[in-house]
């Protein structure tokens, strides 16, 4: 349908958001996601959209809350320290059942950390991006093409389930250039949002967008209903890529940029006659535990590889359920693991070959 163009990950993602019907971007500058803001500031004024550089990450996420409450597709993007600041607003957005898109181009932490790629926000984004009982939809692209495609999926699912979606990328994906194709054209048929606070025009009762429920039984009921929705999402929306897992003795589990490195290591292992395979979680929440649980019956061992000290590995262990050993290898601080390092781990686990 469309021609392939060479684009930087961050810019491709921003352009995809525009094509997905987003006309409201609220952000704050932070490395390594700044190209998203820069692209939006260039494009939005030309197409009647809003690019607003907020005074803080906190203000930006609350502007997203306001725009989402008013019924439009709204987004913000940031990187790890900025995402921490946004967590208050994310909790309110989730508690108000609002759809929106949040981009986290991860860098190393904790604290100011560093500006090189990292995957150490896994826990923050899949477990606790704010106070209270709630979940977010989390997508993990591993190519620039997926930086594009997942924007459409994320907005669609956010609208469908009335909850925030996160694209969890990292500095490597944000900064690299690859050919991309915009497979979906400009989205114009956005869903109706009868719950939105956009002015009732004296034609209906007033809508209230709110996360305050002062009566405990009412709040418990609401949260329980939200969790029923989460269970349904866990049932139907898990996504993962399986690579050479059919006969694999060892399955390496990795997402995002790490999965690119793992794939090379798996290929090298196969050349050496080692039966290695890979499972690449595409949705981090819902975590694709079904495929891992299934493979726990056939594989002999699992290895999680992350650019962190080991966060996703917890979910791998839960999915494997003690049936097989789960190993971990990670680099952190902004260091990207090499295929050779991962291959060494595979060799060691499969019988101590050095």
């Amino acid at each position: 349908m469309a021609d392939k163009v060479l684009m930087k990950g961050n810019e491709a993602l921003a352009e995809a958001a525009i094509k997905a019907g987003c006309r409201h971007f609220f952000g704050y500058p932070i490395t390594p996601q700044t190209e998203i803001s820069a692209h939006m500031s260039k494009r939005m004024p030309k197409i009647g959209g809003t690019y607003l550089q907020a005074e803080s990450e906190i203000a930006a996420i609350n502007m997203v809350l306001g725009a989402a409450a008013a019924g439009v597709r709204a987004m913000t993007s940031s990187s790890s320290p900025g995402i921490s600041l946004k967590s208050e607003g994310v909790s309110y957005i989730a508690g108000s059942d609002l759809p929106c898109l949040i981009i986290d181009v991860m860098r190393a932490g904790p604290g100011l950390g560093g500006i090189q790629p990292s995957q150490s926000d896994y826990w923050q984004v899949t477990r606790a991006l704010g106070h209270g009982d709630f979940q977010l939809l989390v997508f993990a692209p591993s190519t620039v093409q997926e930086m594009v495609d997942f924007v459409f999926d994320a907005f669609d699912m956010a609208d469908k389930y009335r909850m925030p979606a996160v694209i969890l990328a990292d500095g490597m994906l944000g900064q690299m250039m690859e050919p991309v194709e915009f497979r979906r054209g400009d989205v114009t048929d956005l869903p109706e949002k009868p719950w939105a606070a956009c002015g009732h025009q004296n034609k209906r009762e007033h809508n209230i967008v709110n996360s305050l429920y002062i009566d405990p039984p009412a709040l418990e009921k609401l949260v329980q209903e939200r969790y029923k929705k989460y269970e349904q999402i866990k049932e139907t929306e898990q996504k993962a890529e399986e690579y050479l897992t059919e006969d694999a003795d060892i399955i390496v589990v990795a997402y995002g940029a790490s999965a690119r490195i793992v794939k090379s290591a798996v290929n090298s292992a196969r050349k050496l006659g080692l039966k290695a395979g890979m499972i690449r979680p595409i949705t981090l929440w819902p975590f694709p535990d079904k495929v891992i649980t299934r493979r726990a019956d056939t594989a002999k061992a699992f290895l999680a590889v992350e650019m962190s000290m080991g966060q996703m590995v917890d979910d791998v262990r839960l999915a494997v359920g003690g049936k097989k050993p789960v190993h971990f290898f990670g680099r952190t601080g902004g260091i990207i693991p090499t295929p050779a390092e991962v291959l060494e781990q595979i060799k060691t686990i499969l019988g101590g070959a050095k």
């Binding site: 907020a54 306001g66 607003g89 809508n207 209230i208 996360s211 305050l212």
Partner: protein, 253 residues
């Protein structure tokens, strides 16, 4: 028989939860009367604060959003940018607007965001039981200034209208009080002028309303009004601090 007074359509039938003698009720009523008179309710979106007025979303008959503490101007900005033809107002107290939400207040003002803020200043945190607010007066006793606000350690009160009036994005800033019938009439004119400025796209407007908190001040409603007159008005003088509603702030000479 001629009807001389009736409930405003811009308020719902839900009874207010405010304490006896609290002036939030009067201020709600003034905002609602203005929405009625300017025929704005259908296209208005209000943003409620965290504080005593947290349930404002139940009382105003327009679409409403409940914001996090201090974030109402940012939420209002998002709404206004998404729906530029709508009328957007926030209703905030002093802790919300002048402490935790200072950045959101100042920057929505400096952007000249075409929204209206109703700022209720009662010099205390009411909902949490009477702690020091950014607007608590020097020497004023609260739960967290039990010996009176000591400016050596707790600093000085914030004068919001004076501060915001220095910003180019502000089209209209007025401080009013609802302690007398005459002042209530002036307050209503100010609220109407602020909303009218927004309808005409003139930029950021704010009305600061000096308000009583008899419960947390430990006074009767009548004593509280006297206390407001004797202590708050001298520190927070009433009047118009900025009026660029002729040309608006988006106009460049």
């Amino acid at each position: 028989m001629a009807v001389v007074f009736e409930k405003t359509k811009a308020l719902t039938d839900i009874p207010f939860h405010y304490c006896p003698g609290c002036t939030h009720g009067i201020i709600h009523r003034l905002v609602a009367e203005v929405l009625d008179e300017l025929n704005l309710t259908g296209r208005t979106i209000g943003v409620a604060p965290v504080g005593c007025a947290v349930f404002a979303y139940n009382y105003f008959n327009c679409d409403m959003i409940e914001a996090a503490h201090g974030r109402a101007p940012a939420v209002a900005t998002g709404v206004k940018r998404a729906r530029p033809d709508s009328i957007v107002f926030t209703y905030q107290g002093d802790g919300d607007l002048a402490a935790i939400g200072t950045a959101e207040t100042v920057h929505s003002a400096t952007r000249g965001e075409n929204i209206t803020i109703i700022f209720v200043n009662n010099a205390i945190y009411g909902m949490t039981g009477g702690q020091m607010a950014p607007t608590t007066l020097p020497g004023q006793i609260t739960q967290t200034t039990p010996y009176g606000r000591d400016t050596n350690t707790a600093g000085y009160p914030v004068r919001i209208c004076e501060m915001l009036s220095t910003l180019d994005g502000v089209a209209y800033a007025e401080r009013v009080s609802v302690d007398t019938v005459k002042n209530i009439a002036t307050a209503k004119k100010a609220v109407k002028k602020a909303f009218t400025a927004q309808v005409e796209g003139k930029g950021f407007s704010i009305v600061e309303v000096l308000s009583t908190c008899p419960t947390n001040w430990g006074l009767t409603p009548i004593e509280a009004l006297d206390w407001l007159r004797a202590n708050m008005i001298p520190y927070y003088p009433l009047g118009v601090y900025k009026d660029k509603t002729e040309k608006g702030v988006k106009h460049h000479d």
